[in-house]
Symmetry: C2
Subunit: 525 residues, 2 copies
């Protein structure tokens, strides 16, 4: 994920050398594979695809056909990859009497190629646009771009040569990188071809985001966010099962807490392990969740011993935000994220997330042999407040904020947190479907994941599958090779950044259908 | 020099391995020196400087002052250099949460920084504009740009960061390159401070163009042109005296003749020794001149033995263009250059250049022990035609072309070729000064060099010195650190390319005051 900018230059951080050394020791050696392509495409209008743009084969072009000033071509690598691009470039004609100016633009989706980078006026840095303007003094050359890109399509534009010679390309290839080798995992065969497609695209999304950390998006942000890690880890356990990478990421967060003990929402690992000065209430708490999920998936007492104190600190700090009535009261300096959309009140969802993680924490404390009695008392207080003050008996729905708004996020997180007795949960989600569906104003696969999981947990499997197909299936219809960071089916051109040019079309928090299908349709189904 | 494009893809070339191996063995090891600068300047309007633009100290700026999106600064290295630029770049503030987009623009003259590269619409490749757009994923970094630039000023523009951090620069340096070390040459002390300045700037121009070959311009073209080599070699003999580099360049031309024997006007040496498919009548003939000048400066029988046959071939081919009356008749496929200006007829100058080089060839043939009698006969025929058919007795001037135009270039080259008896030469150049001066429509220091030398040869030293000061001195007044490729004092914004942005402000054929001063004011003065 990403978020509006927090600047907290005055926050100082701990750097726990031992925890960070454990993180470093767990760093993966990335698996490389080389993909070549000579397949050229051109853009075409297609209203059924994202942004109304799709590709068609460029039947009259060859990769090595000489290009003059102003000419361009688009190479299609056939699927989404994360890695390094290389290309052989030669001159044809008279000797090369001027440098070549070459523009290389990388795109995950064809629509990106239809957008002029110079027109970008969004609020996130334009530096994220995957486009290079190169001057090459001497041809032939093997162009090996030093930066890593995330793409399926590469557009090469000959910005200038001289009238005396043209440019010829060959050996276009990507050296793709991931911490996992998909050949080592046999994906399940699903009877439903639509779900099978969703599973395949989700798995590719996860693979491409698994690098030296679980990245949120290999195109943009390219770093480890704690809320995203929670979902990536669940998807990973259901597929590649690379628990070492999950442990590495937990140790990175544990090793770089603020002086007050809070875990930052994200960390950087290059040029050195560095905590970001952004803090999100729910993200800090999800350290408890990731640790809890890992212990349930593969117990490791050494990890628990190392990390339990960090988890406890997150919970203790979170509980200072609870008032005497058992209500979570947050301020703008430590907001709860829940979703990119700000069109709904997040208070009740935040309360539920605290309950959700507190339950996980109590289980961890018991596993660790810690006294959990005070936490159990607080849990009751929080739950009681939710059941009494945040529940509208007449409507049969949880309500949020001063306007007592009954939004989907509140019902979903209260369900995930099991605030109501199991018997009442199904009815709650049924009322949610009846009264609040179709889903509106939710902008991320991250929040959609929670909606689907709440439906599954409530036994509403048909509705869960239908929503998965409506949402993730719709991205595939629109052309996705990997699932996206942000997607509002009612506004396919939605961007949190003021321009879809900076949207990330391979974003890890959207990969969760592999987990949902595994957990609720294969294991339980 | 450069010229309108000739495309002769069908011409095949000889590659004489032995001659080219000799050229390779003579390649210099470049001398490096490191120059650092913290001196920042800003642009200011100044009608007395080229393009009305000059610099002033940027008193309120420091190199390491943090810059945000849109900020820029200009580093002044204090003199012109050719080499590699490096810079330490760090981020300041919150962690670097997006790549840095940095524009780096190099300029020989301040006016280049006032011109927007995107506005360039000239006919030479825009690829020559010394500007890079870089994306840096990780800071701090030592930026070491791989390309070589020719510059005094470096403009750094922070195109984008993110609101969370700024950019800070330090350790700006250029690693300057040349085949010669100026510390090994003690420049003469001249009484005239104006001539001293002209000498100093000419010497720097020569130094910066002496690389692995005598380049024409280190900013643009960056290759070995034969006509330019002739003047560079003369300037070199009068100063650094690096005869090995002259020999290397002669062997490069000799090793790569067209199948008909013609030497191309220029050659490339990277990635491999490659002849250009451009042919200029006078440039091919100047192989004779360079060989002749070298033998007079430092006789070398092995070089003469190797290269005399190549020189002979140029002369024999040139003489096929002479008709029965002794008139040189050229066509557009093998034009004579003389000057960038096309505002005067070049026929008589071409005839004179043939006579000039034929005399040098006859001397070489005699030195080599070859029979020169037939060439002596042809010389008489060419000279007779010039004296009778190209000389207007009434005006006392040579005339050129169907309109019998009495232009400066004709008088000058006829003087240099000593077509008239010595006694009449002074009168010819005096009439030239009286009737044709002030000089108009000559666009290059290359042609101005020949005007000045003709004045000196005719004994008109005062006029020669005055013209040197008017022309080269004017470039210094306009801000030159090195002399320029093209300069018309009546049109300081003249460019052969449709935009001064591509003009080369360090161009070797303009360095000749060091030769002229040495030859005619120090040796003979």
């Amino acid at each position: 994920m990403a978020f509006t900018f927090q600047i907290n230059n005055d926050v100082h951080f701990n750097h726990d050398k031992q925890l960070l050394a454990t993180a470093t020791a767990a760093a993966p050696i990335l698996k490389m594979k080389t993909i070549t392509s000579k397949r050229l495409v051109s853009l075409t209008k297609d209203s059924s695809k994202l942004g109304g743009i799709w590709t068609k084969p460029a039947v009259d072009q060859n990769l090595d056909r000489p290009l003059k000033k102003g000419d361009s071509l688009i190479i299609d690598f056939g699927n989404h990859y994360v890695g390094h691009f290389s290309l052989h470039i030669d001159s044809v004609g008279s000797p090369m009497d001027a440098p070549l100016t070459l523009r290389v633009k990388f795109a995950e989706m064809p629509v990106e190629l239809s957008q002029n980078s110079a027109d970008y006026k969004g609020w996130l840095s334009s530096s994220w646009i995957q486009e290079e303007l190169l001057h090459l003094d001497v041809l032939p050359t093997e162009l090996k771009l030093p930066r890593r890109y995330s793409f399926r399509y590469v557009e090469l534009t000959v910005v200038d040569t001289s009238p005396k010679w043209q440019v010829s390309f060959s050996d276009a290839q990507v050296t793709a990188k991931s911490s996992v080798d998909p050949a080592n995992f046999e994906a399940p065969k699903l009877k439903d071809p639509e779900l099978q497609k969703i599973y395949t695209v989700g798995l590719k999304t996860l693979e491409d985001c698994m690098q030296t950390v679980f990245e949120d998006g290999p195109k943009r942000d390219r770093r480890l966010w704690l809320g995203d890690l929670r979902l990536q880890a669940l998807a990973d356990y259901a597929t590649f099962d690379d628990t070492q990478l999950v442990k590495r990421c937990l140790y990175l967060f544990a090793g770089m807490t603020a002086e007050d003990g809070r875990i930052p929402a994200n960390v950087f690992t290059s040029p050195a392990d560095t905590p970001d000065d952004t803090f999100l209430f729910d993200y800090s708490l999800f350290f408890v969740s990731v640790l809890s999920d890992l212990m349930r998936h593969q117990f490791d007492s050494a990890v628990l011993t190392d990390l339990f104190p960090i988890a406890k600190k997150q919970m203790d700090l979170a509980l200072t935000k609870v008032d005497d009535q058992g209500q979570l009261v947050l301020d703008d300096n430590y907001p709860v994220f829940v979703d990119w959309s700000n069109d709904f009140d997040k208070g009740a969802a935040g309360q539920a997330i605290l309950i959700y993680t507190l339950k996980q924490f109590i289980a961890l404390a018991q596993l660790h042999g810690d006294d959990s009695s005070s936490y159990i008392a607080t849990l009751k207080q929080l739950t009681d407040f939710a059941r009494t003050s945040l529940y509208d008996q007449k409507a049969g729905l949880f309500v949020s904020g001063p306007n007592r708004e009954p939004n989907i996020a509140s019902q979903v997180w209260m369900t995930l947190a099991a605030v109501l007795p199991q018997a009442e949960t199904k009815a709650l989600m049924q009322r949610t479907v009846e009264k609040l569906f179709p889903v509106k104003n939710i902008a991320t696969p991250y929040m959609y994941h929670h909606v689907v999981e709440a439906l599954f947990i409530s036994g509403l499997n048909d509705q869960a599958v239908a929503l998965m197909k409506q949402y993730w299936g719709r991205m595939i219809e629109l052309g996705a090779d990997t699932f996206w960071e942000a997607f509002d089916p009612d506004r396919p051109d939605y961007s949190p950044y003021g321009s879809t040019l900076l949207n990330s079309y391979c974003h890890a928090w959207s990969c969760t259908p592999v987990y949902l299908i595994d957990q609720y349709l294969l294991k339980e189904g």
